[in-house]
Subunit: 321 residues, 2 copies
């Protein structure tokens, strides 16, 4: 729809994992110039290409520019921040080299407080937030498997968490992703959208790690199905204390969406299996801190946080029965 | 102390596991007549004896009468109920044959509601409750390893949960166990004592199963150390709602006692490893129900209950990292 830019914007994917690899591949296939920053997969992707399989839809091995070092990358219009929040300490090093002076950072990470970290580096007026409703796994070096969903929600970042409006640049960004075949929406209230995302992430990421369970098994066991709902309810309480009211009916929406999902291993479950750091801080600790400063407790979420903190620093003692 | 019975009371151990095997062995060694009902270890114990090792104190293989069927056992003065609460459906079969007409049932199980089940079979006036503060594991057929502690607290059962006083028969029972070298106390308030026991059992049994962790690792990780304290606090809330006030300082006592323990695998952790049923009902669900009927929530305990219910019916999906 709408009038497309004649000079297509250029992209950098900062973190070529399940999420960055998939969205970057979609843009690349739509004819956009996309540069991929890799953690360890650079040599593999340069030699064999980036393999992306969107289950039941398409599968392709893409020849894309892949980098090991941000300083080797060209400056682009849109720098997509897709690395794990646990690696955000590298942002001051990798963001500035890849951003044109009028470029924007599109933050596609999970949890609260992620745009704030990027804004400190590039300035609040150059940050757009993006939420990804995506089931995608990295299953090998340079090998992404997109399982389901993929919707994006874009919103302007504001330093004080108030609605940022629907700006022309936000609409332009959304148009590009729509052009790449991706379902996309915009919203004027990033903070509220982040909380809505947490309504799913908080129960399923935590429970999947603690119980080593895919989403279907969490949903099909009455006890954990109820616990997931109770955790969602606590996220709504925290959000409301933070000035972001989410209707209770949204819990039913999330339950139904999860029921419809293919059995899914959350990103945190995969991180845990691979011995990688868990995104506990942005997904649990910061939301809890926000609630605490506003006098709102979330005891079940706090219990989950603490169980995850244990598992992040200890190995389970023995193989399960 | 005090005057000892000249005609020594006789005992039946109904469930020769980590707990019943140890206490029964102590009584046997002190010269009491003790009959052991076994689930599967009867043939082994009849052939090889009952092996009990009290670490750093004594180790002995005892020739004791071991039975596979309660109907083969003589009626005794004191029937010690030491089986898992998950097996309590057999009580109507095994209790009546072993009890003299003036005999008492001594209930040494965990959780709430256990004496009530026994009282339904033998009458409330024939029930004494006993709490065991014991670190003991069954490590093989007819093979018990006593690790630490062992204190007992005896109290009269009353159908309405009010204090039952310190009766002469309670003191006599306590004297026998003291005579067997066991640290023993009496209390007039069984219900309160049961709640006090839960202050330890609820955090450590649940966390040890969920995290596959021994007590030392739960205590040495700041996150789970704090969670254990928060769970204890919730037990105090439930107890108070049930009319049993426990001083907050008791939490510190339990924390210190756990710090001093040898690294310990809780009974529920061992049950889980062996694929045996977990005592979720008496240890979690019933206390939560009591709280709920009195308007008191315990969200962290409830979350633990639900995680345990998941693990009781599902196998963790894959070996842990």
């Amino acid at each position: 729809m709408a009038d497309k830019d004649t000079s297509k914007p250029t992209f950098a994917v900062l973190g070529t994992g399940a999420l960055g690899g998939y969205y970057g591949a979609c843009l690349h296939r739509a004819g956009y110039e996309v540069h991929f920053l890799c953690h360890t997969d650079g040599p593999h992707i340069r030699e064999h290409g980036l393999r992306v399989e969107s289950e039941g839809r398409w599968a392709e091995t893409l020849r894309v520019p892949a980098y090991d070092d941000a300083r080797d990358m060209p400056a682009v219009d849109v720098a997509m921040v897709t690395l794990k929040t646990t690696d955000n300490h590298v942002l001051p090093t990798i963001l500035p080299p890849v951003m044109k002076s009028n470029g924007v950072a599109l933050v596609l990470q999970n949890g609260l407080g992620v745009e704030e970290q990027v804004a400190e580096i590039v300035g609040a007026d150059r940050v757009i937030g993006g939420l990804c409703f995506l089931c995608s796994n990295k299953i090998g070096p340079g090998h992404i498997k997109h399982l389901d969903y993929g919707k994006l929600v874009f919103a302007e970042f504001t330093a004080d968490g108030t609605p940022g409006g629907i700006t022309p640049r936000l609409e332009r960004a959304a148009t590009v992703f729509a052009d790449a075949g991706l379902p996309i929406e915009t919203t004027d209230h990033l903070r509220r959208a982040r909380w809505m995302k947490l309504v799913w992430n908080i129960p399923y990421n935590g429970l999947s790690v603690i119980l080593q369970a895919t989403t279907d098994r969490i949903m099909n066991t009455p006890a954990t199905r109820e616990l997931a709902q109770q955790l969602m309810r606590e996220v709504l309480d925290l959000a409301e204390a933070d000035g972001c009211r989410i209707p209770v009916a949204f819990i039913d929406d999330m339950m139904r969406a999860t029921d419809r999902m293919e059995p899914y291993k959350t990103s945190m479950m995969l991180d845990h299996k691979r011995g990688r750091p868990l995104e506990i801080e942005s997904m649990y600790s910061l939301p809890l801190t926000v609630g605490r400063t506003r006098g709102m407790a979330a005891p079940r979420i706090e219990a989950l946080e603490k169980l995850l903190q244990y598992l992040a620093t200890n190995t389970r003692r023995s193989g399960d029965k």
